[in-house]
Amino acid sequence: MTSVAAIDRFATSTKRAFVAAIVIALCLFALQLVTIEGMQSWLDVSRQSAARVPTFLVRISLIICAVAAAFVFVTSLSFYKRNKVAVAPWLFLAVGLVLFMIYVIVPIFQSISYSFTRWDGLYDINGVWTGEWVGLHNYKLLFQDPNFYTSLKNNLLWLLLFMLAVPLGLFIALFLNQTVTGIRMYKSLFFFPFVISQVVVGLIFTWAYNPEFGLLSEIWSWFFCETKTNIVGNLTRVCSPEPPSILGDEDTATFGIIAAGLWPQIAYCMILYLTGLNNISSDQIEAGRLDGAKGWKMLRHVILPQLKPATFIAIVVTVIGALRSFDMIATMTQGGPYGSSNVLAYYMYDQAVGEGVGRYGYGSAIATVLFLIMLVYISYFLWRMYQDEVEAR
């Protein structure tokens, strides 16, 4: 009886494997047939670009079919049944890992290799790469480029000043960590700036900084301006000194953008600390109180040590936020005036695709430098995570 069932199961799984193999073959064969030109004439659209999305969707469905069939195929092999626990994780990982490799890991190395070439991103008509290998030339140029140093200096400014978000976030969190009525609403409203897109934050602050009718000029006018009637009889505002044009001034543009960037970042740090404060053991606070600790002493010796995980995450996200600053610069100044508010992220974009420059090799060299800076923090972060993993074991 059991042997019959076993044979039967063997038979069905062979059948399954066979069907799956046919499906895979059919999908791969069909994939060869799907072309943009074919899709264009089949859909009867005049522009080739209109056929690109349908072609892609058909192709991706075929690939999904093939992958699904491949899973059925593998799971019906007796090899899988004997080594389930060893094979299963790779089946679970396969799709996610392959996609992540293609789109994230491999491009890092491609970018680094581009940085040793001179290339404008084009291929000739036969699809042959048109660039040339130039060794360290791009890096030599880079280290003589004053704009590169301005960007690097601004990146350091961002890193340093962005760190203010951590203590300020802690301050607001301490302020809000109470249980009066409506406090939940206050907490979420204080968190608001983080939810808004950086582009919108950038626009809001561009407007707030506007020296003619912005928020800042309004506040300025309370202190330095008076309204007079001019000869014609209209009311005019006379200010001395004139309100500053923060984004229009080489010396202040970067600080203006950083201040705008701090707004959402403080909100993020605040929410991290609020969660941390929520989880502090009350026993230790009581013990500290019995020992006579309060105020600053309590914060320093009892609370902050317990907030260490929150502080760590706050620092990590703030560093990453500082080095990724792009959206704000793109919306507020585009690196100007005269490149004074550039950072590496924006300068790279500007060199590679902005303003039609098309310096892929040079841009990649800038990106590589930025990546190396980030790598210091990534390594530290991974090392910390590794310590935790070892401890948890």
Binding site: F92, L99, K294, A345
Partner: protein, 283 residues
């Protein structure tokens, strides 16, 4: 609780605290309030210098209606949805699988691969930009919404895997162990046992990824050129260039771009914060 609960303080301190809350909030959200006021006033107010006073007339509907009528705001919003929703679905689905694999199976590659996902998640976008653009070009999906979705989904899988793996790791492993001893197939364990348990994590990730992608600007500028494919973040930036001196319209459009993530945040607040503060309490 720290600081000392305010209820234990004197009546005077308590009232002072309660009074300071709305003032602090007002100052904190002042830029946002000011821009909201601007978005509902008539253009003439700004021209005559009445930028911060009471609007001479309230034009909430006119101004926002004008944004929809005069611009492609509606299509921009729709495009953003078209990018954000598939990205969210794909990356969260893939991360359930990868996170499960990395949390449950003790194989030699589990930790290195996990660290690969984590590290990739933190790299600067600029180092990925040119190869991704080049690849999308050769796959003929540059300048299309699915092309951008593919990248976003792949990239966000890194963050989602980090989240999912840690979440599943915290589940009681004995459950899975005993199911295995019963002879339940690995995929059935995943589907019937683990997936129902990670529902909160799925919810948190969905909200977060949706918001991240909604607010993305860099990748949309790099990967999309056609006006018909642009999402709202890029659209608003373009409008800012077109509507010079029409601040009431620019501010209305900006606020429109901010509304969906804000609504998402308020509806799913618990999950949103749980997602963002992952790891802030332990470890």
């Amino acid at each position: 609780m720290f600081p000392r609960p305010i209820e234990k303080s004197s009546f005077f301190v308590r009232s002072l605290y309660k009074l300071s809350l709305p003032i602090a909030l007002f100052v904190w959200l002042l830029p946002l309030l000011a821009i909201f006021l601007t978005s509902i006033r008539p253009a003439s107010d700004i021209a005559t210098g009445n930028v911060f006073g009471v609007p001479s007339s309230f034009q909430l509907i006119q101004n926002y209606g004008e944004v929809f009528a005069k611009t492609d705001a509606l299509r921009y919003l729709f495009n953003t949805l078209l990018i954000a929703v598939p990205t969210m679905l794909i990356s969260v689905a893939l991360a359930c699988l990868t996170g499960y694999a990395l949390a449950v199976y003790k194989f030699r590659w589990a930790l290195p691969l996990f660290f690969l996902f984590v590290a990739g998640n933190f790299v600067p976008f600029q180092i990925l930009m040119l190869p991704v653009v080049d690849m999308s070009n050769r796959l003929d999906i540059i300048n299309t919404v699915p092309g951008l979705v593919m990248f976003h989904a792949a990239f966000q899988t890194g963050f989602c895997t980090l989240f999912m793996r840690n979440f599943i790791k915290a589940l009681p492993f004995e459950l899975i162990e005993s199911a295995r001893l019963e002879g339940v197939d690995e995929f059935k364990i995943f589907w019937h046992l683990v997936l129902p348990l990670v529902k909160p994590a799925i919810a948190a990730l969905c909200v977060l990824i949706f918001t991240f992608i909604w607010n993305d600007f860099f990748w949309a500028t790099v990967m999309l050129r056609d006006d018909s494919t642009l999402p709202i973040t890029v659209g608003v930036r373009t409008l800012n260039g077109e509507f010079v001196q029409q601040w009431h319209l620019v501010s209305a459009a900006s606020l429109l771009a901010a509304v969906p993530p804000v609504i998402m945040f308020f509806i799913m607040q618990k999950h949103f914060i749980a997602g963002l503060t992952l790891g802030a309490t332990k470890g």
